[in-house]
């Protein structure tokens, strides 16, 4: 078929991730509105703050495609810059999630407080773990680029990293709508 083996394997992996997140989202939806004790979603979810996190992740996706485009045309100065920007935006997202989780814990919502807490933390926590892996991956690429070990010949590596990062973004697009906006 003339396709890169690594890319094909990675698309298959992303397909399996669809099933993982599909199951977690289904679980969240099935137990939605069934908590017997508070805090309830409408009492603690902060839409303006999460909208900013969404904007941040969307901008990180833009930075990622700009990094890939730069590496593909051999402009490693721009490539390094955009890889770093993508990783930093990912860190901002993670910082926001840490603040959100801390705030919720302070408000009395723990993993076992109610069914909302359990499904919310498992779903968004799994997503956050994926973002963490992505940030580590991006920083590794950036360090490789700094050492001169990443060039146009490694564009496929950057493209596969980008596939992972964009997938993390599209999962958040769904979570933002299903968890935060449709309460």
């Amino acid at each position: 078929m003339g396709v890169d083996n690594r890319k094909m394997a990675f698309w298959a992996f992303i397909g399996s991730e669809c099933l993982l997140f599909g199951s977690l989202i289904a679980t969240y939806l099935v137990y939605k509105g069934r908590s017997l004790v508070g805090p309830y979603p409408h009492e603690i979810l902060n839409i303006p703050f999460t909208s900013f996190s969404t904007f941040d992740l969307l901008m990180s996706s833009l930075a990622m495609v700009l990094a890939l485009a730069a590496v593909q045309r051999g402009d490693m100065k721009q490539g390094k810059l955009w890889l770093l920007v993508t990783a930093l935006l990912g860190l901002v997202f993670l910082g926001g999630q840490f603040w959100e989780f801390s705030h919720f814990a302070h408000e009395g919502l723990g993993l076992t407080t109610n069914i909302f807490g359990s499904t919310f933390y498992v779903l968004t926590g799994t997503h956050g773990a994926h973002v963490t892996v992505g940030v580590i991956w991006l920083l590794t690429l950036w360090i490789q680029a700094l050492r001169g070990k990443l060039g146009p010949g490694n564009a496929m590596t950057v493209e596969i990293t980008g596939l992972y990062w964009h997938f993390v973004d599209v999962v958040w697009i769904v979570i933002f709508t299903v968890v935060y906006l449709i309460q």
Binding site: M8, L19, I25, L58, L62, L66, V170
Partner: protein, 101 residues
């Protein structure tokens, strides 16, 4: 084709980012406007689907890449959607049976 770079330009990426931000602003706006409350769920789901599609097609280059990748992604995605809808139908069907509503 191994890369979508031949088809998508920096200009395209910037335009897509602008559209994504605008849709997000519309989503948040719709959430706060009382008039839209009755149609909130379908409107938000459609807007979310548009954002999802834009990122997958342009940022993940599925629009320009080998169709086999679309199959590898689309198949499990469809299965995941079936799982979500089936679980909701089974669960709420069981609740309706139990409560007799």
């Amino acid at each position: 084709m191994e890369s979508g770079q031949a088809h998508a330009t920096t200009d395209t990426y910037l335009r897509i980012a602008l559209i994504l931000v605008m849709i997000t602003l519309i989503e948040v706006g719709v959430f706060y406007v009382p008039t839209f409350q009755s149609a909130l769920v379908p409107v938000l789901l459609v807007l979310s689907a548009v954002k999802f599609t834009l990122v997958v097609m342009f940022y993940m280059h599925l629009k320009f890449d080998n169709r086999f990748f679309a199959f590898l992604f689309g198949g499990p995605l469809l299965l995941a959607l079936v799982v979500v809808v089936s679980l909701l139908l089974i669960f709420y069907g069981a609740v309706r049976l139990r409560t007799g509503t």
